[in-house]
Symmetry: D2
């Protein structure tokens, strides 16, 4: 039997349940889970903030595991064979159809209506389709990515879903060599965005966020300035940022906070003809007042919403981790490891921002 931490319904406590080992169909893979992430989305899942979630679910969308069984001759994206013992991750998004209008005409793969997400939109009744479980069942077609040489599970999970999400945002940010970039938010997405902004050519990076432990991480990974939202109010922050950026404001601002109020603040601080990327608004926290004349039209701004990731973002993230892992040591974002039985605690700690990053090790006793 396989033990898994299950979220039975919104607001209900996490339960440990047991499931039989699945039978493998052709093209499928069975992973023994090494680590699974607990991220802000899991808190939203508990709060019932996301629509269409088929509770009960096994959470855990970003995972590392070891292949213990597989059916057929399977390869990774570079054509290398996969076999037992390989340590891999996989894209949580599964079933992007390649046939619908969004896939074939708009080439907007993250808006494909047929996509399903491990740990989020699959029910525990559908199988072992989330990472808070000793085993994960990879359906045929799930996109598998071996950890690159030198990238430990610890380092990969320290980056977690924050890294490819930030990579997608930074890709949409059109950063130029010599740009000043502000990141709003110092959670896992914000911290990785602050790293990637540097790797994409920014020569000045300012992180606005809190609490202190997260800002310390921001400093560690190279932010030139951090601004504590517990100390400085919104208007003051706009003034500080402007002043730090030659009076004009940053060329690019990346919103990774999840707070709607961050949006008008970020628009206000960005320089004329700059770019504002919104990647943090993953759940509906309501509306906010925006002045289209002052905040957008007169400023000649570009604003870019950024939804989801595709396999390319994950593949590129792995390359970044392999090259720059020793420099940024993403594993240091992990504040604490949790056993499977501690999943509830992990979720509470993430909800209270008591940790930068929490990971569950389902097969470790701790």
């Amino acid at each position: 039997m396989v033990r898994a931490a299950v979220m039975p319904a919104p607001h209900a406590p996490i339960e440990i349940r047991e499931y039989p080992l699945p039978e493998l169909e052709r093209g499928s893979i069975l992973l023994r889970t090494i680590m699974s992430e607990v991220c802000g989305t899991d808190v939203h899942l508990r709060e019932g903030h996301l629509g269409g979630v088929p509770y009960p679910i096994i959470p855990g969308h970003i995972n590392v595991g070891e292949i213990v069984d597989l059916r057929g001759e399977l390869c990774d994206v570079s054509g290398q064979p996969l076999s037992q013992g390989h340590v891999v991750t996989f894209l949580d998004v599964h079933g992007t159809c390649g046939r619908c209008w969004y896939c074939t005409v708009a080439h907007a793969s993250t808006r494909c209506p047929n996509r399903r997400v491990y740990g989020i939109t699959y029910s525990a009744d559908d199988g072992l389709l989330g990472g808070w479980s000793e085993m994960i069942y990879l359906r045929p077609g799930v996109k598998v990515l071996p950890l690159a040489p030198g990238v430990t599970p610890e380092r990969f999970m320290g980056a977690g879903c924050g890294l490819p999400t930030a990579l997608h945002a930074v890709e949409r940010a059109s950063i130029q060599l010599g740009d000043a970039v502000v990141v709003q938010g110092s959670g896992p997405v914000g911290l990785s965005a602050a790293i990637l902004a540097q790797l994409k050519g920014a020569t000045q990076v300012i992180v606005i966020g809190g609490p202190e432990a997260r800002l310390a991480e921001a400093k560690r990974i190279g932010a030139d300035t951090v601004i504590d939202i517990g100390v400085h109010g919104p208007k003051e922050r706009v003034g500080m940022v402007r002043e730090l950026c030659e009076g004009r404001g940053p060329d690019v601002t990346i919103e990774a906070s999840g707070n709607p109020e961050a949006v008008p603040e970020g628009l206000a601080m960005t320089r004329d003809a700059g770019t504002y990327v919104i990647v943090g608004q993953y759940t509906d926290n309501g509306s906010v007042a925006i002045n289209p004349h002052l905040d957008i039209n007169q400023k000649h701004l570009d604003i870019r919403g950024t939804w989801g990731i595709d396999f390319g973002h994950m593949w590129r993230s792995m390359r970044v981790l392999a090259k720059h892992g020793p420099r940024y040591e993403w594993e240091r974002f992990i504040s604490r490891h949790y056993a499977l039985d501690e999943a509830q605690q992990a979720l509470d700690d993430v909800a209270q921002l008591a940790v930068v990053k929490a990971v569950i090790e389902p097969n470790s006793s701790h």
Copy 2:
């Protein structure tokens, strides 16, 4: 002496004043005005909505005139000599510096802080620097553009500032062949945007606006569907547009209405991963509630503010007029011509949307 219609101060009636003929410095040109536009911005000038306007001013930023005098050997942008008798227009924006950070590093010429605008940011005390005047003085460096063969002053002024403004917006809209485009607003900018969307590859164009005479123009110039805001409310409009666009909504929406409420409506109707261009918010009409999660992030939208025009937009507009003038007959946007003494009436008619486009002929007795 030269007669000019002067706006002495916000809310004050237009006055006819007389000025001496200017002495020409090297590089300058004197135009006898053929036609000058009365546009929505002139209404905002009367209402005092724009900051930094050095009243009294001679309004009229888009103009056609005949060269009656010039100093030095002057050429147009293509190197053709300018001489007496040529019928020309000129870019109202003057003094873009080419030296500041916005000009040299950001290449955001419409955000150059040194730019001045004929008819808007020059005082009547500075000279004949607006078109509601029998003569216009072109300072050295003003960018002159001869009307192309076949483009009459009437046709050029029917397009007015709406055409290059719409061209800038459409340039930022990244329309692809086969796209569906919605234009919010049926004033001069909206109507030209509806034309240019077709010329940039859209195969379906929907115009939302009013009153009826403007929607009739929208139909005339090729809109597939018009939606009357006097008949259909905001929510109904979103539903209608979605249904017209295969249930998804348009690929591109161009806001050219000036009403902040149009922005959330436009965001809501645009398809996922589409583009929303804001070009109508030229004055501060306040804030509006926007939901960053639903309206931007989850939709993976691009939003692009569009401020001002540069000479390239005007040059391209002239090419469009020369090629497509006979097909779209922009001159039909002109509802009425006014003598200089009727400037007040022209302004009132524009303010009340009693006309699509109003032009003043300062040297015509009517």
Copy 3:
């Protein structure tokens, strides 16, 4: 039994062969062929110019047919059900994998190494997988597109593969409103490129090609100037084009000729900082001398190779045909219809440029 025109091997004459009706697997569709194209690629297939072709083959990659049978509940890309009697086309490219590095990371779908092409890379031994046949078997996953209302098979086939190929090229050409565009080549791709350049904002289009019948078509569909390569030599053509384009040359040049010599000529005529799109070099006709300093670096040119099409190009082409079909009447590109038994003659006529476009009607007796 189903009759098909088969190309047994390079240089061998076309043969009519008979095949049994296929048994349909789940997800497949059987079409009764209405029309199939004979294009320049088919001539190259006969000459053995393409590598990896599994002769014998049933040529015919762009086709229109009527659904006579299908298995399962199948939909088009917009979610509309497909059923018997529907008149449809389909994307000849099949099996783009969605799993390889080119599909998932580079998003370069036309370079997926797993793609197969109806009428080109399938053998007649694999089934009825080409259009020169009374019936066509659509394997599961083939992307089907119903003809839009008002688009007759005749009009669609007049456009043929030239239209989506040209659409891809024009998409890569970044044409701006008011641009001057030169098209090198007046075959089906060149003619559609000349149409689409106009629809994307060009206000001046020059077509260089021959023979006379094709140039007459170019004039008919709106080219401002045509230049006959039988009359004017390469150097003269460069001079003529420059002069027609204000001495600078065109903003964009689209190569659709298939002749390597066209490339240095096209580079030479394009204006500095312009764009040169290569879409005609579909087979290896050898090398040509290019001067990287004069032709590329000093000119600050963009050069863009354009390979293949994806479903989006076909979908957008259908929208263009539905909107602009009455204006451009693509069906007039069809010089002659051929019965299945006349396939050899059709191929010879295309090879000798005796026709603009040839189509085979496999179920028509003629």
Copy 4:
């Protein structure tokens, strides 16, 4: 009197000549030269490879100097006042007109036909308009840039014109996070391109060049692999690069070699749907055979010529130097400093690739 090293004519030896101190006009600045570059272009100037050079000239287009006199209240691009004692550089390109078609419509500032270049297209008879001179006269409108805090003249000159030239090339290269980049050429442009590729997101950089001292520099600044053209032939290099890049080849190749033969080699090694930037072909070294089918069309390549720099490239380079100077120590590219009297020797050493970078110190006795 001011001493300057003058190039009297092609192939003639450098001469030291004396000139009177210039009288300053309003808006002008006089610099005491600290360092001036000797670059490959100076060798081409001696060989008479460039057209339109008004010999005799004072070479030296990239320079650092101290302001010793100025006329009027002058500011840098950020609005900071300039005054005596400031250590500055300036953009060698002067007189980009802001009025011609290339400036105003194409926004292709480096193709403005009115631009003049210090040290290249100004004659010694026009004044002290090159850096191989004790003093440099900055005409009104020359764009001045103070060295950023921490950027020494030594470090700035080590980067020289290679850095902004490479920055322009890398800007056009559209590098994405995780890309593999090949740089052809290990001179000053190639080395800076190898640095900037890393700073723009490449996680793998391969430099192809020679001789050994330059490849040692390439390794020092972070190239993952260097390939010595003295050891490996062209075909072998293509194979090596492909193998290093997962069998596909690099995503981006940047040509910075000046050898036309590098172009087909670079096209061949770049992956399908990749990008090839040509920045090294600054003088006419003849033509080369290119296969448009194999090298461009079937590969679906983007090729981008890159001419000249504008002030933005220089401004961004200064930001990069200020941030990353300690990491890359550009000053180490300087192999030797030369007194003014040794200008001939400096030129010879550059011509023979005996140095990576040579600088002249006109006011130092050595």
